[in-house]
Structures are given as C-alpha cells and as structure tokens.
C-alpha cells in the first residue's frame, strides 16, 4: 500500500440537530508522522477525528461532503471494517471507551470483532496490556481503576487492534503530572502514525514535531509545532495560550531526539 497515512479534502459536516461543525477541512499526514491538532473548544477537532474511521460523515449516513483517504485508499462503506482496524481512536473520556464489565473483556472487544478467538485473542490482550503496563489489572472492573489507569487501558483497547494510525482526543486531560509523563513515555515508544488533539501545548511540543491549528471548522495553520507556538499573534487570534513561564523556543522537542 502507498499514499499518505491520512489525507482529507474539503470535508464538510453538520450534526443531525442542525449544528454545522466542519466547513471545508484539508490536510495530509504522512506515515510515521506525529501531529498535534490544536484549537479552541468548539473548533470541530473531535468531529474531524471521528470522520477518520468513518464513524461520522456521509459514509456513515450523516449529512456532509468531502473526501478522506486512509493509507491511499478512499473511505467507502465496504472498507469500513478495515479502516476501523487501521485507525485506532482513543476517546477523551475513558468511561466512553471502557464499556465492558472488565478490563480484559474491554481490550478483547476489538480483536474479537476482528475474528480472533481463544489463545490468539488472549495473547493479543496480554500484549496490549503489557504495552501500557496494565497487565496486572486485567480482571478489574473499569470503575475500580484510577483515572490515569483508565486512560492507559483505553489506549490498550485500541493498541490491541494493531492500528497503523493512532488518534487520541486530549490524552493528557485530567491526568496528574506522573500519569501524564507515564502516558507520554508509552506514546513516544509506539511505532505508529500519531494524530493527537490537545490543549496541552507543552505536551504537543514534547511529542509532535508538526501541528495543525483548527478554528471554526477549518484548518487555519499547519507547520512545525515550535513555530506555531512561537507565533504570538496566531495563538492569540485562536484563543490559545502558553502556560505561565513556558518558552517554546528554549525547551527540547522531538526533533532533537532525531
């Protein structure tokens, strides 16, 4: 297979209640890239990523237009199972993602839908839980886990499907500093294309060399994360602010690691 990991063209979408969220979105993400998707609340970021595996949009019977390609293949109804395996979506609220009675059931849900059974399924579940360091909690119910643990299990539920593209919706929100660092260790160790919605700008700079800035249902800027964060006028125009005392030009980013 060839072509970019994600390619989106002139994407338009309105929700069933009449609220329009996307007004023509264009961007491309190459294989292996780590890209942050920045923007104020209500910019349409979550709506956009829900299009990437055909959950929303005309392919799912919704109201909208435009074109999406994943790994060079257009998004069509008949490809949906394959696209949903390739694009793993981690939702913002882990309680939305963890819907089965136990951690093990939940991580097994995706691979079971792919047709895995028996020991093959068990191995896949174990492997994914080891990747996020949660293998000792497999038999717990989600409501017995801490928030940070739930976030990690949510990542594991997607990793168990061995995705090519990992899409995360605000992965660092509501995490305490240690849990936030543990998650970044996990994410930077993964060998996948990464698209990450975040309000946590230092996190974006730490993990992603490139950023997209979205506002009012459109992409308004696309470039190196360091450049975007350093552009004070652009930031102010789209309600983005750096944490007190944070200077994006003086901290190490992913580009230094090579």
């Amino acid at each position: 297979m060839s072509g970019p990991a994600i390619h989106v063209e002139r994407l338009v979408f309105a929700y069933p209640d009449g609220r329009q969220a996307l007004y023509g979105v264009d961007f491309t993400v190459q294989r292996g890239e780590r890209v942050a998707l920045l923007g104020p609340n209500g910019a349409g970021k979550t709506t956009l990523v829900l299009h990437l595996n055909g959950i929303l949009g005309s392919v799912a019977g919704g109201t909208g237009s435009g074109r999406i390609q994943i790994g060079g293949t257009g998004l069509h109804r008949e490809h949906l199972p394959e696209v949903r395996r390739k694009v793993g979506l981690v939702f913002q609220d882990p309680d939305d993602q963890l819907f089965m009675p136990t951690v093990r059931d939940d991580v097994a849900f995706g691979p079971a839908n792919l047709g895995l059974r028996g020991s093959e399924l068990d191995d896949r579940v174990h492997e994914a839980l080891v990747q996020v360091g949660m293998q000792d909690h497999a038999d717990l119910a989600p409501h017995h886990l801490s928030f940070g643990q739930r976030r990690r299990v949510a990542v594991a539920t997607v990793l168990a499907m061995r995705p090519e593209v990992l899409v995360l919706d605000e992965p660092s929100s509501n995490l305490d500093p240690a849990a936030r660092r543990e998650l970044s260790d996990i994410l930077s160790g993964l060998d996948v294309t990464l698209l990450m919605i975040t309000h946590d700008l230092p996190y974006a700079l730490q993990l992603c060399e490139r950023s997209l800035l979205m506002d009012d249902g459109r992409i308004v800027a696309d470039g190196r994360t360091r450049d975007l964060l350093g552009d004070a006028d652009l930031m102010a125009a789209h309600r983005l602010e750096l944490p007190y005392g944070f200077d994006p030009l003086s901290v190490p980013g992913p580009e230094r690691k090579g």
Binding site: L56, F99, G110, N113, L114, A141, M161
Partner: protein, 252 residues
C-alpha cells in the same frame, strides 16, 4: 449507587458456584416458598432455617442482610394494614378487632416477601455483575437484553456520580428549597442528566463502532457447570421443593 450491586467480596462455596446455577436455584427456591399455603407455618420455619444455612455458608455479614431487608418496608406497611381493612369474620387480638383473613394475609405477605428478599440477597451478595451477566447469557436470555443489561450495570455508577455531583453543586450554591422549589430544582437537574447520559450512550456507540462492532457483542460466558456444581447449588432449593410437596401431602 455502586456498579457492584450488593456484592460481598469474600470467598465461599456459594461465591464459587457458577452464576447460572445460582439464578436457577434462587428461582426454584422462591417458587417453592411462594406456592406454599400461608397456614403451613412449620414449612416457613424450615425455609428460614435453610436460608440461614445459605447465608452462613456464603459467609455473609448478618448486618448487611438485615439492612438490605428494608427494601420491603412499603409492603410491610401494606401487610400491617391488612388485618384492619380486610373483610370477613373478625377475631379479637389484644383488644383489637381484626379480620381473620387479614391476619393470615399479613403473615403470608411478610413471610414470603422476607424469605424471597433474603434468597435474592444471597444471590446478589455472592455474584459479581459480570458473572451475573454471563449466567443470564448462559440461561439464554436474548443477547440484546444481555447487552442492554451489561451497559446499564457498567454505567450505573457513572450516571449516579453525575447525579450526585449535580446535587452537591446545587446545595453548595446555598440551595434549600421548599416543596415546590425542590421538585423544580430536581426536575431541571434530571433533564440535564438525561442529555448527558444519552450523549454518553452515543459516544459509547461510536467507541464500539470504532473498534469494529457490527451488531454482535462478544460472549462473556466461557465454561458451564459440572453436575456436582448443579447438585451443590440446587441442594437447598430441592429441599425447599420437597417441603412444599410435603405440605400438599400432609394438607390433603
């Protein structure tokens, strides 16, 4: 309200029994109790002994069982009214003129209701939610119903927490309403709660479809019960059936 129900996490023979065996056992037991005529007092004594044995075997704290019995309070009130409102021949008890059928009826409701609740407590206190779902699935409850049950149990604590937070928010803003004000405040909050819950339901469905869900939930139950487990689980219920049958034989 916790998503664990009344589960008491100790290890016992009853805890280890497969859930579907326990559900069947509960049903058989309660059916035997319900079909026993109210006047066969000795039979209810035997049922009570059997249930105490079950509670002891399951290593349940007596206090928990007693506290949980309060769920039948409204019906105790109803039962206690029966001797006063029922018609038919009267009987004099401690200076009160009571209806005979009412007295027996009150006993009937109290005895059967209490035994039924204790039996149900033994099930819910020894069976985790996941096992219960697996048991119902094994008993061939329609898959859609098992799925709805599973999501309901999973999100019970999440929705209850939302409700709880909304009440705290209301009270921390100095809310202390009279009757009408209370109802209004509660009702407004409940509306917001529904929108929240429903939107969560939508997001969960999106999350499921993102991971390849196409309309069939994976099965939960993995192994069945051995015949010795069936025998062990049904022991008390079968004894109860024997008692219920004995009542008929003696009665005739």
């Amino acid at each position: 309200m916790s998503g664990d129900g009344l589960l008491v996490t100790v290890d016992s023979r009853v805890h280890r029994l497969p859930a579907h065996v326990k559900i069947v056992a509960l049903f058989v037991l309660v059916l035997a109790v319900v079909s026993t005529p109210a006047a066969a007092f000795w039979a209810f004594g035997l049922y009570a002994v059997m249930l105490v044995a079950a509670v002891v075997t399951a290593r349940l704290p007596v206090l928990l069982v007693a506290r949980r019995l309060t769920v039948e309070t409204p019906f105790i009130v109803f039962a206690l009214l029966l001797p006063f409102v029922a018609t038919g021949p009267r009987v004099d008890v401690l200076g009160l003129e009571l209806s005979q059928s009412g007295v027996l009826g009150a006993w009937n409701v109290l005895a059967k209701g209490t035994l039924g609740v204790v039996a149900a407590i033994v099930l819910s206190a020894t069976t985790g939610p996941r096992d219960l779902l697996a048991g119902l699935e094994r008993l061939r409850l329609p898959a859609t119903l098992v799925a709805i049950l599973s999501f309901m149990i999973r999100y019970l604590s999440v929705v209850s927490d939302d409700l709880h937070r909304m009440r705290i928010a209301r009270e921390s803003r100095g809310y202390a309403g009279g009757r009408a004000g209370h109802l209004k405040a509660v009702a407004g909050g409940v509306g917001a709660l529904f929108v929240r819950s429903f939107e969560r339901g939508e997001r969960v469905h999106l999350a499921m479809r993102s991971r390849g869900y196409t309309g069939r939930m994976p099965l939960l139950s993995t192994r069945g019960a051995t015949s010795s487990q069936w025998l062990e689980g049904l022991a008390i219920s079968l004894a109860a059936v024997a008692v219920a049958l004995a009542v008929r034989v003696v009665g005739l």
